[in-house]
Amino acid sequence: MLVKYELLKILRKKSTLLIMAVSLILTAFLFGLPAVQYQTYDQDGVMKGMEGIAFEKQQYARLSVSLSEEYITKTIREVQKLFESPDNVGYDGKETFLIGDAYWKGIAPREKLLRFIAGTYSKPNESLGYDSLRQLDITKGAFFYQKMAEKREALLLDPARALSKEQKEYWSRMAHKVKTPLQYGYYGGWEVIISCFEILMFALLAICIVIAPVFSGEYQAGTDAVILAARYGKTKLVAAKIAAALLFGTAAFVLHVLTACVLPLAAFGAEGWNLPIAIANSTIPYPFTFLQAVLVNIGVIYLVLLAMMSLTLFLSAKMKSPYQVLVVLIPIFLIPIFLTPGNTAGIYNLILFLLPYRCAMPEFGKYISYQFGGAVFDVLTVRAVLYLLITMLILPLARTTFKKHQVA
């Protein structure tokens, strides 16, 4: 009963509806934008939006394959063969590339796959296109998965990452769990979701803004005296207020996540949900499918939301007005947007990757890990545990602070 009324208090405010509407529109716009802006090309010119997406999906229909050593070798050989004919090759003074039918029929329909293959043979931090496959010696075979492992090892040994022996072992062990040969296919919708995750931070901020008055709004309106003098004012009501805020936050988060996922999946399609994310980048050590990766990151963002809501409620119980709460809260959300990770490993980077805004970005291919004694944890686990702990520590504080509030 009390939870119902506390929820009503939140929902009846015009500001709640306004903030949620703006936040949902922003989420829909930003997650829908890649579909609107999408463009691809064929010999006849550019294809935009849904037309382009439909064309791309049609091209990929032939690429739903298992990336076996034989298939990779055959694919590389096909590219090399195209380069053998001088009529197919163009040169712009810097690099050679295929032209005419050789490009439009032999490369364009599978250029993303070819870049993926070429990337596996490149050095760390080097970005290569399909033309690099021309030079590859595959007389004894492509040894694609061996090269994949070697590249990962090279990344782990990069002094800039400053990974300990335990951390290297941890990532190697995790990478071994990636099932090979990789199954390839179209994953456009999931790619958009993963690349836009940080936009959800604005939804988290909006939710926290809405719940900022849960306690401080009572102080500001002067209703604190009446409710605290009532039988359950310091007991069940506090629990109801917290429960209502968390329920609202959870429902609003689900609504935002649905908006964020449904739009790209409706536009680009849900195909690829069961494909490994390693096909987006062969150095990704996580053995997740795209669906699993998205769910795991949504789970982490939800835990960040719970912690931020707890912090908001604590500040709300502590401060005299919701505006004071926002003065503290908004910088916590917004300042990390302007902080970029350094090139070298270090405490700054390790902290930065745990800040709320950065937590929305999964960083699947960055090998960010934290070591406590001999135990190593990846960034997703640390984020989940950290924000769960923050929630567990701060939520009771919010409760106690309101209980001890003095009407003066």
């Binding site: 009963m1 009390l2 009324y5 009503l8 208090k9 009846r12 405010k13 015009k14 500001q220 309106a221 002067g222 209703t223 604190d224 005296a225 009446v226 409710i227 605290l228 003098a229 009532a230 039988r231 359950y232 004012g233 310091k234 007991t235 069940k236 009501l237 003095q406 009407v407 003066a408």
Partner: protein, 297 residues
């Protein structure tokens, strides 16, 4: 039912808002009188358990507020001064919400809400949002919520402030109706309100009880000190600056003065019966503020 205030004090930094207050309150209507800043609101907040005393304790039937916990609050009905409402709630929703916070079961909450809204003449506005209410309607809703749980201690802080005379009369009658077999503590600086409904007067000054006693008996403190006289305007102006003038009334070119003074201010001054307003002015008037009036309580 016995509410005991035992050496209750509240200190804000160096300022003592309530200073070592002792009282035993039995069922009846208590009018808490005092100038602004006398400590009335602070004392009421402490009685309602929303402000912790710096020292002393508050007990109900011999058990402290802390010992009783939720059970203490079940006895309290509180209407703070100028408290806010939830503007987007209707009057009925607000009452049902408060009933839930007070731990009332659904059925009783509904019945009591309808009864009280009827009593405070808000039945027809029960489904209107509170933001559309006038000040008087809000005050009536405020007292209705305080009465929801049929509290044995009803604390009303300045309930008639800001009301027009008609609303004030209606409000006083309401409080009288609610007061049966309860400890009602009513704070105000409108003396007339207290004199109509309070059985006992608690007069506060600088955080202390200056006087406490029955309404009729308490004025005995200034018996023989209230005078009335008819003078011309020039003399009235002189008297006004010299004495504590409680009332000044023009009558056919002359001025009738009501003065509080230890001795007759002039030969033609007539000694009259003191009322609560005289008592208030005696302790809180300009003259009393300038010179320390002895504590009589």
């Amino acid at each position: 039912m016995e509410l005991q205030l035992h050496h209750v004090s509240k200190q804000y930094g160096k300022k003592c808002a309530v200073n070592n207050v002792n009282a035993v309150l039995l069922p009846g209507v208590y009018g808490l009188l005092g100038a602004n800043g006398a400590g009335k609101t602070t004392l009421m907040r402490m009685i309602c358990g929303v402000l912790k005393p710096s020292a002393g304790s508050i007990s109900l039937n011999g058990k402290t507020m802390e010992t009783l916990g939720e059970r203490y609050y079940a006895h309290i009905g509180y209407m703070p001064q100028e408290f806010g409402f939830y503007p987007d709630f209707t009057a009925r929703e607000f009452m049902l919400y408060m009933a839930a916070v007070k731990g009332m079961d659904k059925k009783r909450a509904k019945t009591r809400t309808e009864d009280l809204l009827d009593m405070v003449n808000l039945s027809s506005a029960a489904d209107q949002k509170i933001k559309s209410f006038s000040g008087g309607m809000k005050q009536r809703l405020g007292v209705a919520q305080a009465e929801l749980n049929n509290p044995s201690i009803l604390v009303l802080d300045e309930p008639t402030a800001g009301l027009d005379p008609k609303e004030r009369v209606r409000f006083r009658n309401l409080i009288s109706n609610f007061a049966k077999e309860k400890i009602v503590i009513l704070s105000t600086h409108i003396v007339a309100d207290v004199s109509y409904i309070a059985d006992t007067i608690l007069m506060m000054k600088q955080g202390r009880f200056l006087l406490q006693g029955e309404r009729d008996a308490i004025t005995e403190n200034i018996k023989g000190k209230v005078w009335e006289l008819l003078v011309d305007e020039k003399t009235a102006a002189e008297f006004n600056s010299k004495y504590s003038v409680v009332n000044l009334h023009h009558e056919n070119g002359m001025v009738r003065l009501r003065i509080i003074e230890e001795t007759a201010p002039s030969q033609n001054a007539q000694n009259v019966e003191a009322d609560l307003e005289d008592l208030f002015m005696y302790y809180f008037g300009e003259k009393a503020e300038k010179q320390e009036v002895p504590y009589a309580g």
